[in-house]
Amino acid sequence: MLEVKNVSYKIGEHQILDNISALFEPGKLTMILGPNGSGKSTLLKIISNEINNYSGSVHYDKKLLNKKDTGSVSKIRAVLSQESELSFPLTVEEVVMMGRYPHFNLRPSKKDTEICHQALKRMKMDSFHERNYLTLSGGEKQRVHFARVMAQIWEQPEDKYRYLLLDEPIASLDLNYQHEFLKIAKEVAQQNTVTIVVIHDINLALQYADFVLLINKGKIVAMGNTLEVITVENIQEIYALRCRVVQDKTSHIPYFIVESSI
């Protein structure tokens, strides 16, 4: 499990995060929602150790995250950013193999190659092995990177949880793959993985999330089970939007309809 304790972060005089504490459990798909500039991505960056001059602490498996350490967690924790700046001609397989880098020293083993293939298969990218990464579309690139982070934490370690952090992973995907992505994320979460997704779409969150963290202006507005957190009152308050909810008759999942801004 992953615990964030009293985390605050400032840039200059600007308070980005203000005393955030939260507990993320394995087995649940956790989503972080909030308006632009609310601190969602910053929180994810602190958890993933990209930002390390914050106050407070982050604990993986109850062990304090060493702010300077990058090596040891990389075998059990993978992070997918909003976009990657890779601009060299590499094959898709070479990119996915990078996910296995923490696991081998100089040459990939047979197992590493096998895992790469399986990860690509899971993303329905089997036929892309030899393709030049630069010739792919934005959505295809994102799927390759998802396969890469999946390959990174493919195996379940014996006595530890796995951690998967996704920062707005579905922005460049079509409708089909948005759902495909979140389904896979949910599956992974259920296999004893702490999975945190930063996302904007309230309705997708209602459909997939088990646990939601609602952030606004660097503070936690609400935290808990999806239906308790994503309520008309909360959404109206943080987004300044008037909205109403309709209930889907078959799945009973609520659906938000935005009416106007307040």
Binding site: E50, E85, F88, P89, G99, Y101, P102
Partner: protein, 334 residues
């Protein structure tokens, strides 16, 4: 390589090469050989070709390293100040005079030239890197502009030095800032081999981490790579290679750019392949360029820097144009 040994103002046959080598290794073949051929081969041609091999390899590898570090395939030691910094460091020594240091110790006198080249090329490279990156992201446009600026400063300082220098010093600065292998001797061969070869092997060890760095600094750190450490080490490695090479033969441009690029076109950007390939291909290309520089206006010779830049710059422009076509939405150079 053999062809390179044979060609030149004094022609040497394969047979003569063989005999000279045999003699050098302690055999005493009965075959006769003209002393001039043997002398030219052992004292001039062989060290020159050996130096060519290692410097071609070194410059190409350092080109590949820099391209991975800056995450951009148009970076080259000459573009980001490494070479011109080294040139300035060396020119400084030319003018201040080796003898000034040699009076303190013999060793210092011999080492001061590469040392000074190292220091200044390191400063120049670091300056370009620091000035062109903000929040860990290197902006390419700024990097190239900063590179131009730093190069200009280094070149103008070198120019100033050659202006105040006495005539023979000035001439050696000029000749040297264009690059030439004509000064090759066994001393420089030993020094350059001792530094560059270990550096290339070290570079190979970092190839996996460099691959990860292509994804971006934060992605590399998610893969467990200490990016700050890696960057400093790569810059140090690169500076060592380029500065020692430059101190021996002067500034040779574009090799470090073109060799890795050609390899990328053949077989992708995996740095493990790229570094080995660059070493081999760089050695060959440098030899060819050196041969050309010897043949074109024989019996005199051109500085090799002229040859590589004359051929290299158009290729560079061609690469830019071509990439612009393929990735019109930014791609490589956005």
């Amino acid at each position: 390589m053999f062809l390179a040994i044979r060609t030149g103002a004094v022609h040497i046959t394969y047979r003569e090469i063989f005999i000279s080598l045999a003699k050098a290794f302690g055999f005493h073949p009965d075959a006769k050989i003209e002393p001039i051929q043997e002398g030219v081969f052992m004292q001039i041609r062989l060290p020159r070709v050996l130096l060519c091999v290692v410097i071609g390899a070194g410059l190409s590898v350092s080109g590949a390293l820099m391209q991975a570090l800056f995450r951009n395939p148009i970076v080259e030691p000459g573009l980001i100040g490494t070479s011109s910094g080294a040139a300035f460091g060396a020119a400084l020594i030319f003018v201040v005079g080796k003898s000034f240091f040699a009076q303190y110790s013999q060793l210092l006198g011999n080492m001061i030239l590469p040392l000074s080249a190292c220091v200044f090329s390191f400063i120049a490279t670091m300056l370009v890197y620091r000035l062109s990156s903000s929040y860990g992201k290197v902006t390419v446009t700024i990097m190239i502009l900063v590179g131009v600026a730093i190069n200009a400063i280094a070149v103008s300082c070198t120019g100033f030095l050659s202006y105040i220098a006495r005539d023979p010093q000035a001439r050696s600065i000029t000749f040297w800032s264009l690059g030439t292998f004509s000064g090759a001797n066994w001393n420089s061969v030993c020094l350059v081999y001792a530094v560059v070869i270990p550096c290339i092997f070290l570079a190979l060890r970092y190839s996996k981490a460099l691959n990860a760095l292509l994804l971006g600094e934060s992605e590399a750190s998610y893969l467990g790579i200490n990016t700050e450490k890696l960057k400093t080490r790569i810059i140090i490695l690169n500076t060592l290679i380029v500065a020692v090479g430059t101190s021996a033969v002067g500034v040779i441009g574009f090799v470090g750019l073109i060799v890795p690029h050609l390899l990328r076109m053949i077989k992708g950007s995996d740095n493990r392949f790229l570094i080995i390939g660059s070493a081999l291909m760089g050695a060959v290309i440098m030899n060819v360029a050196d041969m050309v520089s010897r043949i074109v206006i024989a019996p005199a010779e051109l500085p090799i820097g002229i040859v590589t830049s004359f051929v290299g710059a158009p290729v560079f422009i061609w690469i830019l144009r071509r990439q612009k076509g393929i990735h019109s939405k930014g791609g490589y150079y956005a």
